[in-house]
Symmetry: C2
Subunit: 374 residues, 2 copies
């Protein structure tokens, strides 16, 4: 069984309606998802992977004829951290996204055109509610674990708040119980950048053939600065020039400028500007701190593995430490590791060796307990 | 003499031509400047204040009928750190700026209209060259000191490289010998934001009546995030809402969002978008590290007071420590202090008490030596 995951196909789960945290109702919902490995008879080996801001359902393996694997392929597969020889792995694209799940770029059946800003506001709670419906549909009563980094980590925490009885363990990575004003500020500037683009057209650009690419690219460039660390940028780019000398023009002189422009330009080809607005707002609204957080631990309650990265200044370690403090105060079995890394926030996708050791061991232990529970 | 500085007037120094580092010649140059206190007979009590990115010549006191004082008034005046009862203080608006000195929004006499992108590229070296002409014009052979924070600090360092014989001491604050790729990246995103604004019109907006306010406001919003610290934002805004509850809209929900929008909007009323482009590029090009930095110290060479702030992540302390290392290696008399502050980069304008003690003592000592030198 230890081969690469080939011919992976995205599947689509549909349901009629979801009443959202805002009170509005979203009808005809589709959730794109993929699965890897096999659900066992006892249905106790299922792990849900929840993706970060711009991720999608394609977490691992290769689509037919594709040359690039899914976004967390280095962690998911036969013999890997999320071992598909043992576990049944599920990953779904978030509600509000633009990679197969219903979002602002989806067609609003009642209007016969894309929602745009008629799409109702969604929250992390709503994303998780849609995932719960998918898990129910797959016949899984209790997940062996749920794991995700960044906004994925927020979904992990929200699952523990919304559906504690459906989780055996949880792995929030490089995340927070609530966005700080600095995190909100970066998102707000990104949103302003999109909305300032004249082609955004108050969200109605799907039929004009002109999307707010400039604004979206700038939003993404800001993002990329925050995903790296001062040190990793120094290591990757230093002050290296693209040409021999300064251009004395507003062209890209430095490699780091070229990198950001390239990243911005490639992002707009795969991401929807309105989804950017809705999802960042969902992150900013997210707050499970204090009393809102999970209740007191009971016997056999959720076990937590909390991971942060030393150079991550977007989701700094102190935010993970706050999660750990809350969990320990409430009596949860919690393991916390700060991985030494210079990669900044991107580390959660790059520090595979350390993460693999931690996750593999944690899942193995949890799975043993699950089997004894039968 | 210990009264506030009232009825301050901006003055204008004009000269015919400056050959720039790029090789181009800039003609009919004006430098806006102000002075406070009196130049003594020996002309050895002059201190040049060099401003940060968006500053101007109005560093201290009140213009006639004005209610707000200059940008560093808490540090400059009778009895203050830069004591106008003792010292003759000069501050000039940088070349390329938009507050009285020649810049891209100035009229190009040979074309009869504003330069816009016909303005030649300027560097920190060029800014300093223009300041040297002003100092010469004022009849000052040797400055008692030169002081400035952020980009002001770069000018301080460039003075030490370009005109070491004209300095007795130097006070670079919260600055660097060269921009890191992260610092370049933030500037580049700001430039892209301005240039992506359709009203920027390739720099030709002076005659359209439509300036790139959206793009410039976003650039400034990014700036403001980098000027504060995670902690100072938490202290100032936390997750405070403007209204009672989430709006479930793209309006400003959080106080921090309102603050950024306000700051962005007020900035565009006083700053020129093309100046933003030229000046940020001058910062990114600046690099006096390594061999380019000041030669070996000789007897009675420049004394340095280097100041950084613990929570400044835009110009982190390690950059000041690199300056200090270079200076000490070359034998310069160098004092270095990292001030404990939660204000982030803004600290250089806010930590007045600590800065006053350090600067006052340093200037007094330098002045005593200057008087013994006669």
């Amino acid at each position: 069984m230890s081969n690469a995951l080939n011919n992976i196909e995205t599947q689509y789960f549909k349901f009629d309606s979801l009443v959202l945290e805002s009170g509005k109702e979203l009808k005809d919902v589709t959730i794109a998802y993929e699965t890897y490995g096999k659900l066992n008879e006892e249905k106790n080996n299922a792990v849900l992977i929840v993706h970060a801001f711009s991720g999608d359902a394609h977490a691992a393996g290769f689509h037919k004829n594709a040359s690039k694997p899914g976004w967390w392929d280095n962690m998911i597969g036969p013999g890997k951290a999320f071992d598909t020889d043992k576990y049944f792995i599920i990953c779904s694209n978030i509600l509000g996204g633009c990679s197969g799940s219903t979002g602002p770029s989806s067609v609003n059946a009642s209007a016969g055109k894309p929602y745009a800003l008629d799409f109702p506001f969604i929250t992390i709670t709503d994303m998780v509610a849609a995932q719960k419906k998918l898990i129910d549909y797959l016949g899984i009563k209790k997940l062996l674990s749920i794991a995700g980094g960044s906004m994925g980590g927020m979904q992990v925490l929200q699952w523990a708040v919304s559906y504690p009885e459906a989780l055996r363990s949880a792995i929030p990575i490089a995340t927070t119980m609530k966005h700080s004003p600095q995190q909100i500020a970066f998102n707000e500037v990104a949103r302003q950048s999109i909305m300032a683009d004249i082609k955004w057209n108050n969200g109605n650009y799907y039929e004009t053939g002109q999307s707010p690419d400039s604004g979206l690219a700038i939003a993404r460039m800001i993002g990329h600065i925050t995903y790296m660390s001062d040190k990793s940028m120094e290591e990757k780019f230093s002050r290296n020039l693209k040409e021999q000398a300064y251009s004395f023009s507003f062209a890209s002189d430095f490699e780091v400028e070229g990198y950001l422009r390239y990243r911005g330009d490639s992002f707009v080809k795969r991401f929807d500007a309105n989804s950017y607005l809705y999802i960042t707002k969902a992150m900013d609204y997210f707050d499970v701190s204090g009393k809102k957080f999970v209740g007191e631990a009971k016997n056999k309650d959720i076990k937590f593995l909390v991971i942060s990265f030393a150079s991550d200044w977007l989701y700094p370690s102190y935010q993970s430490e706050n999660i750990v403090r809350q969990l320990k105060l409430k009596g949860y079995n919690t393991t916390y590791i700060e991985i030494k890394s210079t990669y900044g926030h991107d580390a959660f996708l790059l520090e595979v060796e350390d993460e693999t050791k931690l996750v593999k061991h944690f899942l193995d232990k949890t799975y043993k307990e699950a089997k004894n529970d039968r």
